[in-house]
């Protein structure tokens, strides 16, 4: 059941990419995603693809895993493409009654879809090569400077940790309830959308109620173990920036500079 969940799935390994400091990886991915949106010509896309392919090769993550990450948003990508192709005014290339596909639409839509694919690919590479623990740690420490401006950095990281910890538990429970309901004759699979959604109610209600109980008990257990927010807390895992992180940072800087040049030359 949890196999469909590639985003957030960690593939342990010892590659250079795996060993980069999580802060470096999060920063690079954020910069990369932003940079995708300044690209406006094919050479920019070539550079972005090369960057992603090199990162993938260095990580030794099988391509299949990255593609698995893209699959769930395929519908979104196709929708973006279709909307653009038919909604952008320009030179018609195909006509079906009052619906017109345009050349300009195909180009903008194509590039937009391409951007989305790169975005998801690189983000899933981040989660595939970084353990959830390292990821939340990195995030917490990157956001720490903003805590002074009122951003609840520690709380956000704690929430993420707990979410990651409980997703498998809740999936297990959902499966158990589903089996119990199926044994009593509930049919989750056939019928139209309305019927199938209705069939989900006896699954969701107990799941919802038990989540509240879980939250209550977890809060009690955390308090019993001395939790009192982020203040005065130390961390077992220390993050350390090494030479590889500087190299990765420099490469990214060159990449972004290149994109800026291609856009504004």
């Amino acid at each position: 059941m949890s196999r469909g969940l590639t985003v957030g799935q960690y593939l342990p390994g010892e590659s250079v990419i795996h060993r980069l400091d999580p802060r470096t990886k999060i920063a690079i991915v954020s910069v990369y995603v932003l940079a995708l949106f300044i690209i406006n010509n094919p050479w920019g896309y070539v550079a972005a693809v090369v960057f992603a392919v090199v990162a993938l090769a260095l990580s030794a993550v099988p391509l299949r895993y990255m593609l698995d990450g893209i699959k769930p948003i395929l519908v979104l990508i196709l929708l973006t493409l279709t909307l653009n192709v038919f909604m952008t005014p320009g030179t018609p290339i195909w006509r079906f009654g009052r619906v017109v596909a345009t050349r300009e639409g195909l180009i903008t839509g194509g590039f937009l879809a391409f951007r989305l694919i790169l975005l998801i690919a690189v983000t899933s590479l981040l989660t595939l090569t970084t353990s959830p623990v390292a990821l939340t740690d990195g995030l917490e420490r990157l956001l720490k400077p903003f805590a002074r401006l009122g951003l609840p950095a520690h709380e956000l990281a704690m929430m993420m940790t707990i979410a990651l910890r409980f997703i498998p538990t809740l999936l297990e429970e959902a499966e158990k309830i589903m089996k119990a309901q199926m044994a009593r004759g509930t049919d989750f699979e056939s019928g139209n959308l309305v019927r199938r959604t209705k069939a989900l109610i006896p699954l969701l209600v107990p799941l919802f109620i038990s989540s509240f109980r879980r939250a209550d008990e977890l809060a009690m257990a955390m308090e019993a173990r001395g939790y009192h927010g982020g203040a005065g807390r130390t961390r077992f895992r220390q993050l350390r920036v090494g030479p590889a992180d500087y190299v990765a940072g420099a490469v990214t800087a060159v990449f972004v500079a290149g994109l800026v040049y291609l856009r504004f030359r």
Partner: protein, 277 residues
């Protein structure tokens, strides 16, 4: 020597002053010495969990007081010391593990205490070795068995270097194998490391293995004493709604069938000795 944990005239009212007020504890006096293994039994709703939560300041008395290692639990400034000294393990193993790997979870308590990172590593190792889970340190908690999860939860408490371990029905949701694992671990910690244990349970056979048993009923401690004393009152216990440990039950039936059986038989060995005489 003063007791490690003591309550004096402890009373607890939930929803005090409201129409749905519940008197969960009434005038409870208990004293738990360092190094003791205490079992607490009693029917559902008799106040066992409420009592346990007073031992580490999760609840504060509405009357009377609780002293843990000489500290009054109402002393806000020293509440974290109390929480460190008396660690608590709860019933549902899934709802007390916070982190996504075993070692990160064990680190949670020491991190909250502000222990330096280098020391946290040593503490994790020692705690996981004690509960026999060291080789699982990098595993995800949801892949462990119930007994293993509870041992991780115990390790999470041990890493805080407590003086007392409180188990609130920590074996209730486990299968027999998991229960044996947890009991063996806790008994070993009590014997070898001198850790004080307060074990709340509804398995009378587990209670029979304690140094002392507290029987709770409607917010009060009805009996307290060695298992052989407490379990030699079959009629009173049944009235409260409690069973006897298997061997005490057998002894009671033999007695009623006319055999001469001395009071206070609680273990299989004693019973075997008796029958083979």
């Amino acid at each position: 020597m003063a007791a490690l944990i003591s309550t004096e005239g402890l009373g607890h009212l939930y929803n005090q002053g409201q129409p749905n007020e519940v008197a969960a504890l009434v005038d409870v006096d208990v004293a738990i010495e360092g190094g003791e293994f205490i079992a607490v039994v009693g029917p559902n709703g008799s106040g066992k969990s409420t009592l346990a939560k007073h031992f580490n300041a999760l609840l504060l008395p509405t009357s009377g007081r609780v002293l843990v290692g000489g500290i009054d639990t109402r002393d806000q400034a020293r509440m974290w010391e109390v929480r460190r000294m008396a660690g608590m393990v709860f019933q549902n193993p899934d709802n007390q593990i916070v982190a996504t790997t075993v070692e990160e979870d064990v680190a949670f308590g020491p991190e909250n205490l502000g222990v330096p990172p280098a020391d946290i590593g040593t503490r994790i190792e020692q705690a996981l070795r004690w509960v026999g889970m060291l080789e699982h340190r990098r595993h995800a908690p949801h892949l462990l068995s119930g007994g293993q999860k509870q041992r991780v939860a115990i390790a999470g408490v041990l890493a805080m270097k407590p003086r007392c371990l409180i188990l609130d029905e920590a074996t209730a949701m486990l299968d027999p194998v998991g229960r044996d694992e947890v009991m063996a671990t806790v008994k070993w910690l009590n014997r070898e490391e001198g850790l004080t244990v307060v074990h709340i349970t509804h398995f009378m056979d587990e209670a029979a293995e304690a140094d002392r048993v507290l029987v709770m009923d409607r917010g009060q401690v009805r009996f307290a004493g060695a298992p052989r004393e407490v379990f030699s009152r079959p009629t009173e216990l049944r009235q409260i709604g409690l069973d006897l440990p298997a061997m005490a039950e057998l002894a009671d039936r033999l007695r009623r069938a006319g055999l001469e059986v001395p009071a206070g038989v609680t273990s299989v060995e004693e019973m075997v000795d008796l029958l083979c005489r």
